[in-house]
């Protein structure tokens, strides 16, 4: 699949699964896009993984918006992490975890913002996972594939998001 068509397919599937693309374009800057998310979701606290692409810029925007940087992950409003890859056919993000607590930033906060390098986008999600598993040395202990927010239909099939994981999944794609 051509790169631009791949990206369009990814966006379609990602949004179809309930994800929200935070995509600075036109006159909307990265700072403004983040500010819109923070205001819309009522975010007061955050934590950011140091492995996130553009970590300094994003951290600085969040600080400037007056958010509290917290280590209390279970009570966090926003967790920011890198997405190590993505699969266009299903709109799935891939998170690869080693030692440390980064994985909790994808599972505990109310809102999760993932940052994906556009070049890490693949057609099938397995293409984004297998290279991490089959490299030299021990494989990473935990890989998490995420397709949209946490959801349930367990009560009368009523669709509700944010059961145990994030209620909202935002994605910023950077070059």
């Amino acid at each position: 699949m051509r790169e631009d068509r791949l990206f369009l397919r990814f966006v379609e599937e990602f949004e179809g699964a309930g994800g929200i693309l935070l995509y600075p374009r036109g006159e909307v800057t990265l700072e403004e896009a983040i500010a819109l998310m923070v205001e819309g979701e009522g975010i007061k606290s955050y934590a950011i993984s140091q492995k996130t692409p553009r970590v300094k810029a994003i951290d600085s925007v969040l600080k400037d918006l007056g958010l509290e940087k917290s280590r209390d992950y279970p009570g966090l409003d926003l967790g920011v992490t890198r997405a190590h890859g993505a699969g266009a056919l299903t709109g799935t993000l891939v998170f690869v975890f080693g030692e440390g607590r980064d994985h909790l930033l994808t599972s505990l906060p109310r809102v999760h913002l993932a940052v994906l390098r556009r070049e890490d986008l693949c057609e099938h999600v397995s293409q984004a996972v297998i290279p991490h598993l089959q490299g030299e040395g021990n494989p990473p202990p935990y890989i998490s594939l995420v397709t949209g927010p946490s959801r349930t239909g367990d009560i009368e099939l009523t669709h509700v998001t944010g059961v145990h994981g994030p209620e909202k999944l935002y994605l910023m794609v950077v070059s």
Partner: protein
């Protein structure tokens, strides 16, 4: 004989129990809603997966390869887990698994265990055991939590609490928390999030099932939508995986093939929200433990049984239940032991024994709707027959009934007598048999039966025709008019017919597990079949029964349904006659799903001048006949 009498004595109470279930409007509406939504979602989502049959073949071959190598593959998994600091235990049975997990829980300290949805843990009845050790066990999937607090069992494999209304769910949580909870699914879900978050954070042990294990790394794959599996596996210091021997595949690539199919086939989602992959090297902080418990509990023995081995391919997508007419009618509380539906009968036989399995199997009509949706190509109706065949202690009454009905002379005499003394429509049978006629009106056998009429019409036994007509018992004794019409039509079309000596086709015997009788009837019928002439059927069940004779390697002439033969003789020409009528066509299960004859009857009807075909919504739904089923379970059948 004692078994027969016992079953007959139990018949009224079983009948009443089923009638109560069938008449529960909340259960039926809820199941209808869930199954319709999942089946429609599946149909839409499948469009992106290419040819479904090709996918079935791919999945079946991949899983069979892994099962054939499973002993070697599990050795590899064990080595990998241990090398990365985890422990590995192969539990031979449910008790061993319970006790091992109980020890892990006690050694973990504290008294709280959080669990993800795991039918394997239900199979070993883990929760009551852990509770007997003084531990608090908390189910963390929302649906599972609801039924845990309500003290009930799942009614659906994907949405376990589908039978409960939001008002009932609110009452369950109000009672559990000692405060009023509004009956709003959004509010309830948020309250549960808060409540269970605390449990996740304070538990010493988390436990989940696993969907797939790939042997190459090894890696453990867990798919969920709510995210509870991720928290059970990563927050408590001790993580225990409990999964079955059958979950093995050879490679990570094979695992991904299963996940291409599982959520699509299950609920119509391209991917579930979360797919977690654990490689075992999961010891990133001091004190962290990773334990793998693999459950045998009959699975390895099943590898040596050609029928039950097929059941081991099951990936628990639940699609077979989402299309099953019996499941839609009675739900998972009734059509299950622990594992639900027709496939559940085989699984119950593997893990719990034949007695329980026979109860589940007896509710299956064998309609074969499941065959069209199973991504692993599991021949579920054949597995159900196998369970019935093996469980000889159960179903004795129906076995005896079938043995009687299969005696041609006896059937001739009984129907002959009934045709003389019974009213045209039998609305009330005497004694306990009256329960049958509470649900359906029976028809009187007709005179003369088909064969005497055909002989009087000049048809000969085993000679004189181009095509041999097999009438079958229902046409012979109850609907000879169908036989007469078929003879008249084909004569007018210039097709000379002959008839043959007949026994029951044997299919009703298969449906109750009387495989010996089935073989006996097959041998007799095969000896009567005139060589070289195509065989024509007016009954889909008889045709399917005769088709089954090929399993024994016997040569048979070509088999034709009436619609197929008429269409072939018509070629491109038009039908010799007209009929101004609106016609609704009901597709017989045996014809459509077991023999693959789908289009021909409709094609034939469309070629009759004046006929307008009315598409019925339930044109493909099982009629509930299924041999003796209509008499055994009238509330479900009707």
């Amino acid at each position: 004989m004692r078994g027969v009498l016992k079953e007959l004595r139990e018949y009224p109470s079983r009948w009443r129990r089923l009638q109560e279930v069938v008449r529960n409007p909340i259960m039926r509406e809820a199941l209808e809603r869930a199954m319709t939504r999942f089946a429609q979602g599946r149909a839409q989502a499948l469009e992106g997966l290419g040819d479904f049959q090709e996918l079935v073949e791919l999945c079946r071959d991949m899983k069979d390869r892994a099962l054939d190598r499973s002993r070697e593959l599990w050795d590899r998994v064990q080595n990998g887990v241990v090398a990365r600091g985890g422990t590995f235990y192969l539990a031979p049975d449910a008790q061993a698994a319970r006790e091992y997990i109980g020890r892990l829980a006690r050694e973990a300290g504290g008294n709280l265990v959080v669990k993800g949805k795991s039918i394997t843990s239900e199979e070993i009845e883990l929760n009551p055991y852990l509770e007997s050790l003084g531990l608090e066990v908390v189910e963390t999937d929302l649906g599972e939590r609801i039924i845990q607090l309500a003290g009930e069992k799942p009614s659906h494999i994907i949405v376990p609490a589908i039978h409960k209304t939001k008002e009932e769910v609110a009452r369950v949580f109000s009672q559990a928390w000692g405060r009023e909870v509004p009956d709003d699914p959004y509010v309830i879900t948020k309250e549960v999030r808060k409540d269970l978050r605390q449990k996740f954070l304070s538990a010493n042990m988390g436990m989940t099932g696993i969907n797939v294990v790939s042997a190459d790394l090894p890696a453990f794959f867990l798919m969920t939508n709510e995210g509870n599996g991720r928290l059970c596996s990563t927050l408590p210091p001790v993580y225990v995986i409990l999964t079955g021997w059958e979950k093995i595949v050879e490679s990570v690539e094979d695992a991904f093939t299963i996940f291409d199919v599982l959520p699509v086939n299950s609920v119509g989602l391209k991917y579930s929200s979360y797919l977690s992959i654990f490689t075992g090297s999961f010891l990133w902080k001091k004190g962290r433990q990773f334990h793998v418990v693999i459950l045998d509990n009959g699975r390895r023995k099943a590898l040596d049984d050609p029928f039950f081995k097929e059941a081991l391919r099951c990936i628990r997508c639940g699609a077979c239940m989402n299309v099953c007419p019996v499941y839609k009618t009675v739900g998972g509380h009734t059509f299950a032991h622990i594992y639900m539906g027709g496939i559940g009968a085989a699984w119950t036989a593997i893990t719990n024994g034949l007695e329980e399995a026979r109860e589940v199997a007896s509710l299956c009509t064998g309609c074969g709707t499941c065959l069209e949706v199973c991504p692993m190509g599991i021949p579920i109706p054949s597995l159900v027959e196998h369970v019935k065949e093996l469980a000889k202690e159960k179903g004795q009454a129906e076995r005896m009934a079938i043995r009687l009905v299969a005696k041609r002379k006896l059937l001739e005499s009984a129907t002959g007598l009934a045709s003389l003394v019974a009213p045209e429509r039998i609305a009330r049978l005497p004694g306990p048999a009256g329960l049958i006629t509470q649900e359906r009106v029976l028809e009187r056998p007709q005179q003369p039966p088909f064969h005497p009429w055909a002989l009087s019409r000049g048809l000969e036994m085993g000679k004189g025709g181009e095509v041999t007509l097999f009438a079958g018992c229902m046409v012979e004794f109850f609907y000879p008019n169908i036989g007469r019409d078929a003879v008249e039509l084909l004569t007018r079309m210039g097709v000379p017919l002959q008839i043959m000596k007949e026994e029951c086709c044997g299919l009703p015997a298969r449906t109750v597990g009387e495989m010996g009788l089935w073989e006996e009837l097959a041998a007799k019928n095969l000896s009567y079949v005139p060589p070289g002439k195509p065989l024509l059927f007016l009954c889909a069940t008889c045709m399917s029964g005769m088709h089954g004779y090929r399993e024994s390697g016997k040569e048979l002439p070509p088999l034709y349904d009436l619609s197929q033969l008429v269409l072939e003789k018509l070629g491109g020409g038009s039908f010799p006659g007209s009929c101004k009528a609106k016609v609704a066509y009901h597709s017989p299960c045996h014809l459509e799903r077991h023999l693959g004859v789908k289009e021909e009857p409709l094609e034939l009807l469309s070629r009759i001048r004046g006929v307008k075909i009315i598409e019925g919504e339930e044109a493909h739904l099982c009629c509930g006949g299924a041999g003796l089923y209509a008499f055994k379970y009238p509330p479900v059948s009707v």
